[in-house]
């Protein structure tokens, strides 16, 4: 279980996150929903250990990981722009996490093969990143994030950069992959439909704080304030 408790983050003299608390139960997916600039990405980066935390704590199964360096946390993060490694082919990208974990080349090859299969890109292993379409990049990024089987996965606007029809198809696929693999996940998005499609638990974020959380129905039936009502309306 992931626990975030009273998290404050300052960046460049600005107070980006204020007293953010949330939990994600094992095997569950929570969506953080909010307008751009509300601090959603920073929340993921703080949980991943990519930005320093001013106060508060991040725990995994009750153990404090706030000061654990990023590469030792064992969390996965899929970046908004995918951040694929331009100098490696598809297989090199997908197998990267396993190589870092010290897997043998044979193990890496096996896992890369099956990871590419889940995302429907079998046989794409030796493609260059530059030759991939937007949708293919998204799927490679997803495979790269999930291949090392991280205990916890974060997805930053996983479908944000894609056009509408592709988005709808990949939304279904992504949800299926997350469910089938029983992944514990935190998804960040500014799109209400995407959020509710990927998870049934939402956390609404605005100006660096979580305004309200619960299922979409709960929030819609009792919105905390006018802003929540307008934003979800």
């Amino acid at each position: 279980m992931l626990g975030v408790d009273g998290l404050d983050v300052h960046l460049g003299g600005k107070h980006i996150l204020r007293d953010v608390s949330l939990t994600v139960a094992d095997g569950d997916t929570v969506a953080v929903l909010g307008p751009s600039g509300s601090g959603k990405s920073t929340l993921l980066r703080a949980i991943a250990g990519l930005v320093p935390v001013a106060s508060g704590s991040i725990t995994w199964d009750g153990k404090d990981v706030t000061t654990v360096p990023t590469h030792l946390r064992g969390f996965g993060l899929m970046f908004q722009g995918y951040a694929l490694f331009p100098h490696m082919d598809v297989a090199g990208n997908v197998g990267f996490g396993l190589r870092m974990a010290g897997a043998t080349p044979r193990e890496v090859a096996t896992v890369v093969g099956s990871a590419l299969e889940w995302v429907g890109l079998s046989g794409f292993g030796d493609r260059s990143i530059a030759d991939l379409s937007g949708g293919e990049k998204q799927r490679v990024a997803l495979a790269r994030t999930l291949a090392p089987e991280p205990k916890f996965v974060m997805l930053d606007e996983p479908l944000g950069a894609l056009d509408r029809s592709l988005r709808e198809r990949l939304l279904v696929e992504t949800r299926a992959i997350l469910r089938d693999r029983g992944v514990t996940a935190l998804v960040v998005t500014h799109d209400r439909d995407e959020a509710s499609a990927l998870s049934h638990r939402l956390a609404l974020m605005r100006d660096g704080t979580i305004v309200q959380s619960g299922t979409l129905e709960e929030i819609l039936s009792r919105p905390a304030d006018d802003w929540v009502e307008t934003f979800l309306g």
Binding site: A48, H71, A83
Partner: protein
């Protein structure tokens, strides 16, 4: 508290110690020595410093003006018009610029120009035309042609438009080119030493004479102080100019160039062919004078004074290899620090590493023999030559690496960290493969710099391990037709070696870049 990252500390410490001990400390010793000499004020020192400083200044200013004028027709032709062979012409005009100064000096000696101010100025123009063609041409080719046309519509003639519209718009590029040419000619050493004879000496040449020939180290140090003050004020003036004149005009992307027709065609052809022909004369003369019977064969014979002249080729290649390895190692570490965490440390590093570029090679070599007697006496060490060359080459390596490293988005590295890569592993998996091509190009630059380096080497080279430029200089300053022909032959070999590496860099740089 943040734990100390020892890897990071080491990566910053190695280049810092290198620059500190081999550059800042020697320059500090020179400053101390030179300032105390100036304080003592021996008889006539000031008048002498003033005379040499004044000559250095005016020959540099005159060289700069002449270079700008000489380069104007070619710059106009290649930036404004499209014609067959335009790219080749631009490449050919760059050849003199990459030639080692000793080769340029030899080429003008081959023309029979020695001991004259005319030869010095001509060699400076020959050497620097490419700076103007490339710097000014780059801006000129991207000026919006509508500005020119608007001037014409408003009733100005072609010449008037050039004076009132085009020239003012080109001013930043002209200033940049002039600043570079001025700096090169102000610190010119090899060319002036070879062509100036005993009558003409720049600060650089006089530092060399006082230190190496006359062993007057304090006077040499005083000259070095004047030289440092001159270079620093020139750089300061230029950076102030740049700050005040930062401009953002509408530039077109470099695309449609006109094809010259009629009278324009004749003018373009005359400009390009004329410039190339004039530039080719010294090189052609160098080659023909090297082709005297037996001159190349004589290079392999043992000479009682200079040894086997051809052995200097082996020495140069060995030194260049070591210097390139040192320069790339230091440059890679330094670039990692510069592009790593943004902050005062990184900016300080960037600036300090560029200093050897602004200082002169002569000052670096002089600094070595003044200062490197502590803690161990390194002054007779084999390593002094490659270290001096590496010091001169590090700025080139850093300038090639930093833009490539900066072009890697932060997210790419973060993605690797999230996937379990330690900081060192991130560097190895992400940065290193991406920059290895840049590092290769950087090492090529370092190799070329080392091959042609003369200023610092003339101080630190040991008699039995002369480099190519040092050997050429020795043969050139020795009386006798045989020595002269051998000097010409060695200069041709050095020029050919340089050309091969420069061609290789050129292809490596533009061949596959942009693959990702």
């Amino acid at each position: 508290m943040r734990p100390i990252r020892w890897g990071r500390v080491l990566v910053a410490a190695v280049p810092a110690v290198f620059i500190g001990y081999f550059f800042l400390y020697p320059v500090g010793r020179i400053l101390a020595l030179g300032l105390s000499e100036l304080g003592v004020g021996s008889d006539g020192v000031e008048a002498r410093l003033f005379r040499i400083g004044w000559f250095t200044l005016w020959q540099a200013a005159l060289s700069t003006i002449l270079t700008l004028l000489a380069a104007a027709p070619m710059t106009w032709a290649v930036s404004q018009y499209e014609f067959r062979g335009r790219k080749l012409a631009t490449a050919l005009v760059t050849v003199p610029f990459v030639l080692p100064t000793v080769v340029v000096g030899s080429a003008f000696v081959a023309l029979g120009w020695r001991d004259s101010i005319g030869a010095i100025l001509a060699a400076h123009v020959f050497f620097n035309v490419a700076v103007v063609v490339r710097t000014v041409g780059a801006l000129w080719s991207r000026l919006d042609p509508n500005l020119h046309d608007a001037g014409r519509v408003l009733g100005a003639g072609e010449w008037k438009v050039f004076r009132t519209v085009t020239l003012p718009l080109l001013r930043p590029a002209i200033a940049a080119a002039a600043a570079i040419v001025f700096l090169f000619t102000f610190t010119s050493f090899g060319v002036v030493l070879i062509l100036g004879g005993f009558r003409y000496a720049t600060l650089e040449v006089e530092i060399y004479r006082q230190a190496v020939t006359l062993f007057d180290l304090p006077l040499a140090a005083a000259l070095a102080v004047v030289q440092l003050v001159g270079v620093t004020s020139a750089l300061y003036a230029y950076s102030r100019y740049q700050e005040r004149h930062t401009t953002t005009w509408t530039l077109r992307s470099e695309a449609e160039r006109l094809r010259p027709t009629g009278r324009g065609g004749i003018l373009v052809g005359a400009s390009v062919l004329g410039t190339l022909l004039v530039l080719a004369i010294p090189v052609a003369r160098l080659v023909t004078r090297s082709l005297q019977p037996g001159s190349y064969r004589a290079l392999f014979r043992d000479d009682p004074v200079v040894g086997v002249p051809m052995a200097s080729t082996g020495n140069s290649l060995l030194y260049a290899t070591i210097a390139a390895l040192i320069a790339v190692s230091i440059g890679v570490m330094a670039s990692a620090v510069i592009t790593g965490r943004r902050g005062r440390l990184s900016r300080w590093f960037d600036l300090t590493l560029m200093l050897p570029l602004g200082t002169s090679a002569v000052t670096i070599g002089f600094g070595f023999i003044v200062a490197l007697d502590r803690p161990v006496d390194l002054r007779a060490s084999f390593w002094l030559v490659p270290i001096a060359h590496a010091l001169v080459a590090v700025p080139f390596v850093v300038r090639t690496m930093v833009p490539t490293l900066r072009s890697i988005p932060a997210e790419t590295r973060e993605a690797a960290r999230v996937l379990g890569a330690s900081p060192l592993r991130v560097w190895r998996e992400i940065d290193l493969p991406i920059v290895s091509r840049a590092a290769l190009v950087g090492s090529g630059f370092a190799f070329v710099v080392s091959l042609g380096e003369f200023g610092a080497t003339s101080f630190v080279a040991r008699p039995n391990t002369a480099t190519l430029p040092v050997m050429i200089f020795r043969l050139l300053t020795r009386p006798g037709a045989g020595s002269f022909a051998m000097a010409m032959a060695l200069a041709v070999i050095l020029a050919a070696l340089t050309a091969v590496i420069v061609l290789w860099i050129d292809r490596a740089q533009f061949g596959e870049i942009g693959a990702f």
